[in-house]
């Protein structure tokens, strides 16, 4: 179980190469810690590296300088380059990608189940209930390729909830959603946080997911 994610002077390599030595923000080139159970909002304008930060934390990219480390519940600390990210992605960190990464040839339920069956965390009936709650009742068995961007966003959100984890990353989760769906989404997120004590890290370019954030960071 991961208790804390630490960022120590992390910066994009591409920023570092820029004169004089890249931007400094509350996240980039700083020391930041995300704790399990906490809720964080990372705000930035477009092009400031929100998705890159998520990818670094999630182990999909390593073109950064500085150090990302994880502190386990036994107090042991291990750095990002020595992690079994497959295990971390299955058990400790869940990600809702900005570009969703859904499979257009699978239905919304199948897209979520594809993730859920990795760990057996959520049953199909629960998945259907969650999607229904987000207004997708008549889209449960529709191929994702035939759904609107906003509908896909909701499917991607449900998928992010259907796995065991210590942290959930939501990369611009409501960019194409109305207020009603955004509110339901935040309710579902809060329920999950209260139930399992997960850490929530949300990014936004201005249109915030309504949530009680402990910390708001400017990127």
């Amino acid at each position: 179980m991961i208790q804390t994610i630490k960022l120590s002077k992390v910066n994009l390599k591409v920023f570092v190469d820029m004169p004089p030595s890249g931007p400094v923000s509350e996240v980039w080139n700083s020391d930041v810690a995300f704790n399990r159970g906490g809720s964080y909002l990372i705000e930035a304008s477009s092009g400031r590296g929100k998705s890159s930060l998520c990818s670094f934390l999630y182990g999909l990219r390593n073109d950064y300088v500085g150090e990302i480390s994880f502190v386990g519940d036994d107090g042991r600390e291990f750095t990002g380059d020595k992690c079994d990210y497959v295990k971390i992605r299955q058990q400790s960190m869940s990600m809702m990608f900005q570009e969703h990464r859904l499979f257009p040839e699978l239905s919304s339920v199948d897209n979520v189940m594809l993730k859920s069956q990795l760990t057996g965390f959520t049953k199909e009936t629960e998945v259907r209930e969650m999607l229904t709650r987000l207004g997708l009742k008549d889209r449960l068995d529709t191929l994702c390729g035939k759904m609107s961007y906003g509908q896909q966003q909701r499917v991607a959100f449900v998928r992010a909830l259907c796995q065991p984890c210590d942290f959930i990353f939501l990369d611009e989760p409501i960019s194409h959603l109305d207020e009603g769906n955004a509110r339901i989404m935040s309710e579902m997120l809060r329920e999950r946080q209260q139930k399992d004590g997960v850490g929530v890290i949300v990014t936004s370019i201005g249109y915030r997911l309504p949530y009680d954030y402990d910390t708001v960071l400017k990127l």
């Binding site: 497959v86 992605r89 990464r101 499979f103 199948d110 594809l114 993730k115």
Partner: protein, 404 residues
């Protein structure tokens, strides 16, 4: 797994897989057929010639009209024997010793029927026979006899048996005799000297050979009998037995013998024919294997293309938490299934068509026993496992390349 398969089977090209299946089936059937034929031919070769192994041949000098006119047999001189001994791949040279007295053989099938004939006996030094003789002699009759013995072990030319089976037995309605039960029919041998003294021996057939056209008995028997039934005069050999260090004679020895004007006794073309058949079988198996190899690479390319087409899906699955192994498993199972199915069908086809070939072999050689087709299935399983493992490895590496 169902969802994963549903997702990753997208873009599977049925045409490419069908191409692989057809080419691999052709190659597989040829390989399996060739391997079974090779095994059967090899077994037949070994069973046909165990007494005087492939590493020995018998040579004589050709008989010319001049020899016939002069009545002088063409014998080997000491220098000619030495020359043969010095040839690099010749290990040893043995002289034939022939009986110089009258011998009558009586073949008695039952009380009413049988026949007799005058003949002569031959002997080669025992070391040329003994090793393989001991190994194949079920009756434990020693390759040993003296002039005072009552029984004499014999090695007959295989032609004699064929002559009986396909000539005498066929025309007189008598049952054919297989090599294995030949030893149960003793042959009466009567040796006689010029003064009319004679002794009867019981000859027991202990083996057959293609390499000698006369009846072979132990060296000691001929030596002692020559002294007892003739004047004991030693004649120069007209035939020699040659062995090589190699497993079998190569063409260079045969060429050398041809060059010297000697003749290989028995089936003189046997060595070349045997080498030709082996070479032919190797070519057949090789062609089949090339087909299979082509098919193997066709499937490799097909899988690589499929993985490349599904690159984004694989990358997304990996980012969702799927391991390389788990993603690869979908394609690996696909490849395993195709490989197993193709080799299974190839083995079935080979099993169905092989009996036609074995019937042909059996009609050409009475001692051919259709071997179990186990070898077809064993080779099919081995090649299927080999191909599948290699396909599995290719899949894993290709998926891993995407999941960096």
């Amino acid at each position: 797994m169902r969802l994963l398969f549903k997702l990753l089977k997208q873009n599977v090209s049925i045409t490419q897989i069908l191409g692989f299946v057809i080419v691999n089936l052709i190659g597989g059937v040829i390989v399996l057929f060739g391997v079974q034929a090779f095994k059967d031919f090899n077994t037949l070769e070994q069973s046909e010639e165990q007494l005087l192994s492939k590493s020995s041949i018998v040579i004589t000098k050709s008989v010319s009209a001049l020899n016939t006119a002069s009545g002088v047999a063409r014998t080997f001189s000491d220098s000619e024997i030495e020359e043969l001994k010095e040839f690099a791949s010749v290990a040893s040279v043995g002289e034939f010793r022939t009986s110089n007295f009258k011998v009558k053989a009586i073949f008695q099938f039952d009380e009413k029927s049988g026949f007799n004939t005058d003949l002569f006996l031959d002997a080669v030094p025992d070391e040329f026979v003994k090793n393989s003789y001991d190994a194949i002699n079920d009756e434990n009759i020693e390759w040993q006899a003296g002039v005072d013995s009552d029984t004499v072990p014999l090695i007959l030319p295989r032609n004699y048996l064929n002559l009986y089976n396909f000539g005498y037995a066929a025309s007189s309605g008598r049952p054919v005799v297989s090599e294995k039960i030949l030893g149960k029919f003793p042959i009466k041998l009567v040796a006689k000297d010029s003064k009319g003294n004679q002794k009867e021996y019981t000859g027991i057939v202990c083996g057959l050979t293609n390499k000698i056209n006369t009846i072979l008995v132990p060296w000691n028997f001929v030596t002692e009998a020559n002294e007892k039934y003739s004047n004991g005069e030693k004649k120069r050999p007209t035939r020699l037995i040659i062995t090589t260090d190699a497993k079998e004679f190569d063409d260079s020895v045969v060429d050398f013998i041809d060059e010297k004007g000697y003749i290989i006794e028995g089936d003189s073309s046997h060595v070349r024919l045997q080498n030709f058949i082996y070479a032919l079988l190797f070519v057949v198996i090789g062609i089949g294997f090339i087909f299979s190899l082509l098919a193997f690479f066709m499937l490799v390319i097909s899988i690589m293309l499929l993985i490349e087409k599904n690159k984004e899906k694989i990358s997304n699955l990996y980012s969702m938490g799927y391991s390389v192994g788990r993603i690869a498993k979908t394609y690996q199972y696909m490849a395993y299934g195709i490989d197993a199915a193709v080799w299974f069908v190839a083995a079935i086809i080979a099993t169905c068509i092989y009996p036609m070939f074995s019937e042909l072999m059996a009609s050409a050689s009475p001692d051919f026993v259709a071997a179990s087709l186990f070898i077809i299935w064993a080779v099919a399983v081995i090649l299927a496992v080999l191909f599948a493992s290699m396909h599995g490895l290719v899949v894993y590496r290709q998926v891993k390349k995407i999941c960096k």
